[in-house]
Amino acid sequence: MEHPIFFIDAILSALGVEHAGSYSHVTYTWLTMLILIVSALFLARKVKLVPEKGQNFFEVVIDGLESFMVDITGPEGRFFFPFVATVFLFILVSNLIGLIPGCFSPTANLNTTLALALCTFVLTHAIGIRYHGVKYIKHFCGPVWWLIPLMLPIELIGHLARIMSLSVRLFGNIFGKEMVLAILFGLAGLYLAPLPIMFLGILVCFIQALVFMLLSIMYFVGAMEHAH
């Protein structure tokens, strides 16, 4: 399998930057940030009461996300909506730019997905400590006090496993899609064999972004609610 060629890395190598090919997940994260920030600036400049095309599209997206979130958390969960919506939009755009020939998904690298999962993990416990203080420990203990030596390690391992499951789920889906596309392209690229997998890939991108956001919301709700 030949080494794939990425646009931004080729441009950076031509500009003389050393080792431009070994951190493509960082350079394509910059591309994702550029897309999100430019579209937000461009569309939020002239906000009208009766929305036009671009503003209408983003209003539908944000409104849909917020109603989806408030269905699960109730009205007291609105304060973490910016984080959750940012995670969704970042993962969605990151996944989708991998489908463009010559571009690479930053989420196809375990570093990016691990960073996102760690953000969710830290925010879960920050919310729990802010809402419950020291009594947050009660979330890790079982229903009765004499089960604590059994329940506490199990709950701690379960919480740490959340990081692994969030990161590996997203990484495996997107990297697996890229691997299948690369193999199919090597086998039968001239007969347009990767195209059906690309259609499936669009679906996978949406669903994985949605699942990451949904699991983050459920972890936050679990940290906010009262213990058993």
Partner: protein, 126 residues
Amino acid sequence: MSKRTLVGVLTAVSVLAMASIAFAAEDGAVKAAGLWVFFGIAIACGIGIGMAALGTGIGMGNAINGALQGTARNPEAGGKIMTTMIIGLALIESLCIYALVICFILVFKIPDLGGMHELIVKSLGG
């Protein structure tokens, strides 16, 4: 058993028998060179992801079964049921993805055909 099952079983047995003949020819030297590790890795990758896909298929079948029955009883709730079903399928599929990631880690440890050929020839003293 039926004729199809009998033919399937005989095919599997004959393939495995031929594989063992190929192994026996270079048995001693190849084993000493530690090349059995690569054969083991290749078999493990295939069987591992196959069994993971088996469990995932059964689980997803159950999930879609429940969703279809719920929609058939109450067509108005079809949208909500399908949303929940898609999310459930993504979570079930993630278990297969964990096995797939392990298989990726293992598969990239096997040298390609050219490298394997060199290793085998070197182990036979050539």
